[in-house]
């Protein structure tokens, strides 16, 4: 009996130990899976998967970059000379156009003659560039050359200033507008929230009567619990029209609306952390300051705030962390235009909003899908960095206290 009890006890201890490692395991899994899905991106061809680009065999262009492909099909590059070929006008050809040239019956019952017809088109037009599904590409013919396409480059992804993942033939996956959009919205959110939050923290920790504290603290805590989609809805029905009217804008869905909503959402975090830091100031320091003849206000801004500085910094960092990762509220009020942000009064799109808006439409395993997972990786590392920074700052504070 006693032995049995001992064995159960050991077993349960072992279970506790395993659960102790749980959070570490989850973080590890998150890293593994985000990277597994995301990092295939740099092994994918830069044009849409399942498609190829064909030119005439006499064309001496061997390779085109993503930007060149995009410009050719947008008619911004019109001459082969501009991409290193001979002096001739470029003829673009998309797969659909074949159906204007031939009738359905000419392709055979099962479209088995389709590649041959495509080959004829290319053979007859030496300056053509054809964007075709791999399945029907006339690969065996001697007049046709398949252009080798580059893989998606790391520099294009991190340095690219255009995010048009659905563009054909080559999707543009530059994350700069999204990263800058995220930073713009988050930084302004903190700029709005910090003075307010700090003021309220000072009021709550130093000035408020016990009664007002008892009312205000739970209200602020309640606010931290309201779902972000409710804030987003409030922003949509109140803030967006308000901004549109006040600033006479064509649309109210702007970076400003996102910043204000995020500021409101970050307030509870900032207030709670900063207030804790100020309350932890030893009363000996307050008393010393007052006894030297300083007023209460002088004590606050010359003794308590400097003492609580690292706690306040931690509050700021945590507030930024909350703002950077916030998805739904931002998605609902910023308008989501994926362009380089230039002012607060324009529509922007943040990283989380991009993932939320586009993942549903991106086919699993495709380049767009992989790019969204890479965005998730970026977001993960930004917030991890922020969390560790806050941790270090807070640790600093503890060391000083002892």
């Amino acid at each position: 009996m006693k032995r049995f009890q001992k064995i159960t006890e050991r077993l349960i201890e072992a279970i506790f130990t395993v659960s102790g490692a749980l959070t570490s395991i989850v973080i590890l899994l998150i890293v593994v899976f985000l990277f597994k899905e995301g990092f295939g991106l740099f092994n994918s061809p830069s044009i849409e998967s399942g498609y190829t680009l064909c030119v005439h065999a006499n064309n001496n262009v061997e390779k085109l970059s993503v930007n060149e492909i995009k410009k050719i099909f947008d008619s911004e590059i019109e001459n082969w000379k501009e991409v290193g070929g001979s002096d001739a006008m470029i003829q673009t050809f998309r797969f659909d156009e074949i159906f204007n040239l031939y009738t359905d019956t000419e392709f055979g019952n099962d479209y088995e003659l389709l590649p041959q017809k495509l080959g004829e088109v290319i053979k007859n037009e030496p300056n053509i560039i054809a964007y075709l599904p791999q399945k029907y590409a006339p690969t065996g013919m001697k007049d046709v050359k398949i252009l080798s396409t580059e893989k998606i480059k790391v520099t294009d992804f991190f340095g690219g200033s255009e995010w048009i993942p659905t563009a054909t033939p080559a999707p543009l996956l530059g994350v700069l507008p999204l990263v800058l959009g995220t930073l713009l919205v988050s930084l302004f959110a903190i700029l709005f929230a910090l003075p307010l939050g700090l003021g309220v923290a000072i009021y709550l920790s130093e000035l408020a009567s016990e009664r007002s504290r008892k009312i205000m603290k739970p209200t602020i805590e309640l606010l931290a619990g309201i779902p972000s989609v409710v804030y987003g809805f409030f922003g949509l029905v109140v803030l967006v029209p308000l901004i549109q009217k006040t600033f006479h804008l064509p649309v109210g869905e702007t970076a400003l609306a996102g910043s204000i909503i995020l500021a409101i959402m970050a307030l509870p975090t900032i207030i709670t952390v900063a207030e804790d830091a100020m309350r932890n100031t030893p009363s000996a320091m307050r008393e010393a300051s007052i006894s030297l003849g300083a007023s209460q206000w002088q004590t606050i801004y010359k003794v308590i705030i400097p003492y609580a500085m690292s706690g306040i910094s931690a509050a700021v960092v945590l507030g930024i962390g909350r703002a950077v990762g916030e998805t739904m509220a931002v998605l609902m009020v910023t308008g989501n235009a994926a362009v380089m942000p230039s002012s607060l009064f324009e529509s922007v799109r943040t990283i989380p909003a991009t993932i939320a808006a586009e993942l549903g439409e991106a086919p699993a395993g495709g380049t767009h899908y992989q790019a969204l997972f890479l965005l998730g990786c970026i977001l993960f590392f930004i917030t991890l960095l922020i969390s560790i920074t806050a941790e270090l700052i807070a640790k600093n504070n503890i060391n000083k206290g002892t």
């Binding site: 006890e9 349960i12 201890e13 279970i15 506790f16 130990t17 659960s19 102790g20 490692a21 959070t23 570490s24 989850v26 973080i27 899976f33 985000l34 597994k36 899905e37 003021g199 309220v200 000072i202 009021y203 009312i215 205000m216 739970p218 209200t219 602020i220 805590e221 309640l222 619990g225 309201i226 779902p227 972000s228 989609v229 409710v230 809805f233 409030f234 949509l236 029905v237 307030l267 209460q296 206000w297 002088q298 962390g321 990762g325 916030e326 998805t327 739904m328 609902m332 989380p352 993932i355 993942l359 549903g360 699993a364 998730g376 977001l379 993960f380 917030t383 969390s387 560790i388 941790e391």
Partner: protein
């Protein structure tokens, strides 16, 4: 004199800030309650949406959220409590505890949309659950895990060491001490963690976007591999898309009211439990 006027001005300013912020918060709550309360009726709560989300109720969304709460809590609560027991009762004070705590904090700081991506990659695609109640519940469960761990740890820490040593001195084993002394005493405060998690789970949208949420699904789920509707996602789609946004506004307000009501009730419960817990600790 100068010192005094400075102080009066500064204090007045801070007081105004305090009231301003609380005012904004109350304005948001009041605005939504004011516009939405008239929508709430028994019919609204007990019927399915109809006519392209412009009329009818939100019953399937309420049931879906309820299932998601049950599923995620059933997964996260026992695991979180066990994890907290390990780090506060067994792990000692070395680097292991520090490491675990840092990891828990990091997990808490990961944005919910990243959990959504992860849930989609692991549960929906790799384990092939598809968009399903189980995938959504597990994803939400991971999301609230740090919350459960933290609150449980706080609760365990609040129990005086003398209780443990007294129990051990009477010949109880460590496990007996934990299961008969520490856990029952800490129970009300552990419960606050549970309630906070319920509030959090019922309001999260981003993690369920790609793991479980359905745009419109009039029938209730029959197995854990079915999709469900959920309140926060319902509010999102009703507010931003749909055939007739103006006509579906009342539905959106009503859904927002239900969400806020859930959070309010949970917060009140937490406050009651907390004061009960402090009283109980004092009387011991």
């Amino acid at each position: 004199m100068n010192k005094r006027t400075n102080q009066i001005i500064a204090f007045l300013f801070f007081k105004m800030l305090g009231f301003l912020v609380v005012g904004i918060l109350i304005w948001i709550l009041a605005f939504i309650l004011y516009n939405g309360i008239s929508v709430i009726s028994w019919d609204f709560l007990s019927t399915a949406p109809s006519e392209g989300m412009t009329s009818g109720g939100i019953f399937p969304a309420i049931v879906g959220t309820l299932y998601l709460v049950i599923g995620s809590i059933a997964f996260a609560f026992p695991l979180g409590v066990m994890s907290a027991i390990y780090s506060s009762e067994y792990a000692g004070k070395g680097w292991i505890v520090k490491f675990i705590r840092i990891m828990t904090n990091n997990l808490a700081s990961i944005p919910s949309i990243v959990f959504g991506l992860f849930g989609m990659a692991l549960f929906v695609n790799t384990l092939e659950f598809g968009d399903s109640l189980i995938a959504g519940s597990l994803t939400l469960g991971l999301l609230v895990l740090p919350l459960v761990i933290r609150t449980t740890e706080e609760a365990l820490k609040a129990i005086p060491t003398s209780m443990r040593t007294a129990s051990l001195a009477l010949g109880a084993t460590k496990l007996q001490t934990i299961s008969r002394i520490v856990l029952p005493m800490a129970f009300p405060n552990i419960l606050t963690g549970l309630i906070l998690s319920i509030g959090r789970v019922s309001g999260e949208t981003a993690p369920i976007l790609f793991t479980v949420a359905a745009y419109f699904l009039p029938k209730l789920p029959e197995s854990v591999f079915d999709q469900v509707m959920a309140l926060p996602y319902h509010l999102y789609v009703v507010a931003t898309s749909g055939t007739d946004i103006e006509a579906s506004r009342p539905i959106a307000y009503g859904t927002a009211v239900v969400l806020i009501a859930i959070i309010l009730v949970m917060n009140i419960l937490v406050n009651i439990l907390r004061s009960y817990f402090t009283k109980k600790l004092k009387s011991n």
